[in-house]
């Protein structure tokens, strides 16, 4: 199976490569449009600030390629957020694959949010209301590893939810596009199961 990891200079992707290798896959890290289009599965990971990572996607014209991919695509962390319509982080328009917005934890507009909430949301948190093929053999209430200061709002494409000060979207799916907020590559057995399920799509 050919698995392409999208390279756009957005943080550390080594752990995604190693996680796939543990599942017997040798992924290719690339920004080559032909290689990405020709892969059986595409992983869109990344860590970083939304407006600068969007800029890096545009420099490589990946903003035109990604929304038109036909094979299963898995966005992880900032990858998930960049698949949304808009992000408050750097006030930037994103790829618009999902009609959902990205907001900041503890934004001054959120009067309901506990002022003692620490940002980033860092560590293991349980995901609930699991839906879809990616969660085959993943336990309801499984703890996954999160590190983020911005979150995707709850939306109709949601396949799991998580709570940190408020409920937010922990994963979502639309057609061939899948996205997880947590670092599935660093989420022990449950995260590895999810990756395996993605490979089996």
């Amino acid at each position: 199976m050919k698995v392409a990891i999208i390279e756009y200079n957005a943080g550390n992707v080594q752990s995604v490569i190693f996680a796939l290798e543990r599942l017997g896959i040798n992924p290719v890290l690339t920004d080559d449009h032909n290689v990405i289009s020709g892969a059986d599965k595409v992983v869109f990971p990344g860590v970083g600030e939304a407006s600068s990572t969007m800029k890096r996607l545009k420099e490589r014209k990946l903003d035109e390629l990604i929304p038109n991919l036909k094979q299963p695509v898995l966005g992880i962390c900032i990858g998930m957020q960049l698949m949304c319509k808009h992000s408050e982080e750097g006030n930037v328009d994103c790829l618009g694959i999902f009609d959902a917005n990205v907001r900041k934890f503890k934004s001054p507009n959120d009067i309901e949010i506990n002022s003692t909430l620490k940002v980033p949301h860092m560590g293991w948190n349980n995901i609930d209301n699991l839906k879809g093929k990616l969660y085959k053999d993943v336990e309801v209430g499984a703890d996954m590893y999160f590190v983020h200061s911005y979150f995707v709002e709850t939306n109709p494409f949601q396949t799991s939810s998580c709570h940190y000060g408020l409920y937010f979207c922990a994963s979502m799916q639309k057609d061939n596009f899948y996205a997880v907020q947590y670092h599935t590559e660093k989420s022990s057995k449950q995260g590895s199961q999810l990756l395996q399920n993605f490979l089996e799509l």
């Binding site: 080594q14 190693f18 620490k118 860092m122 560590g123 293991w124 948190n125 200061s149 709570h163 590559e185």
Partner: protein, 251 residues
């Protein structure tokens, strides 16, 4: 609900773990990667690896070590020890580390915290602070706890947060190696001061100490070494006890 984290810390030299008792007298506690994998399997939430080697040659081999750890581990890990440049951080992250921890270099060049968090994101920049109480005042110590910087610990912690650290690893030198419990009085004051996660370190000796550090010290995570390395507190037993005491943990 966000879980409280249990973090074994491994001091590493040439791929083997060593634990300093009161930062001196080193004892051998086995093969680092094997031990790390065991901890991950037992339910450790994260791991910290501190490079305690001194020479440039050994520093280079630590990168290979980090790569081998990353291949093996499916939980996050932090690396620290002698990190003082953007290039070093980049090499460690590329090797597969999830976070880096800086200590003496942050005190020497505070701008490094800003530079690193801008370049790599706050989420992967941990600032380790070693603190010691002298005449009812708390001071920051550096160089493996040998040098008093004269900096007020609380003032420094606020500065570190403001400069962009994503997390604090706070070691109480008065408690470290004593197995008499974490410095909860200090930790609760720090929790009140900061808005970023705090990893408590120094003093773990019993299961009750871990319950206390979360209940009284309000820590987000607790780090320990020898109680884990020598099997005094098995991680599954610890997490079960925490859970029974209504402390949210990943089981």
């Amino acid at each position: 609900m966000l879980k409280k984290r249990i973090i074994p810390c491994l001091d590493v030299k040439n791929g083997r773990t060593v634990k300093g008792v009161n930062f001196e007298n080193l004892r051998d506690a086995g093969d680092a990667i094997e031990l790390a994998a065991l901890y991950a399997q037992q339910g450790a939430d994260e791991l910290v690896f501190l490079d305690i080697t001194a020479t440039i040659e050994e520093r280079a081999t630590f990168i290979d070590f980090v790569k081998n750890v990353a291949k093996e581990l499916d939980i996050p890990f932090t690396v620290g020890g002698g990190i003082n440049s953007k290039e070093r951080v980049s090499d460690l992250l590329k090797a597969g580390a999830d976070k880096v921890s800086i200590n003496s270099s942050a005190v020497k060049t505070p701008d490094l915290i800003n530079e690193l968090s801008l370049e790599f994101g706050s989420q992967c920049i941990v600032v380790a602070v070693d603190t010691k109480r002298i005449d009812q005042k708390d001071f920051v110590f550096v160089h493996a706890g040998k040098t008093n910087t004269g900096l007020d610990t609380f003032k420094w912690l606020r500065e570190v947060e403001q400069r962009g650290a994503g997390e604090i690893l706070l070691t109480s030198m008065d408690h470290d190696g004593t197995k008499s419990g974490f410095d909860n009085d200090m930790l609760v004051k720090v929790a009140d001061t900061l808005n970023i996660p705090i990893i408590a370190s120094g003093g773990a000796g019993s299961v009750e100490h871990f319950i206390d550090v979360f209940e009284k010290g309000l820590a987000d995570a607790a780090l320990a070494a020898s109680v884990f390395h020598f099997g005094e507190i098995p991680i599954p037993k610890l997490k079960e006890a925490l859970s029974k005491n209504n402390i949210p943990v990943r089981l």
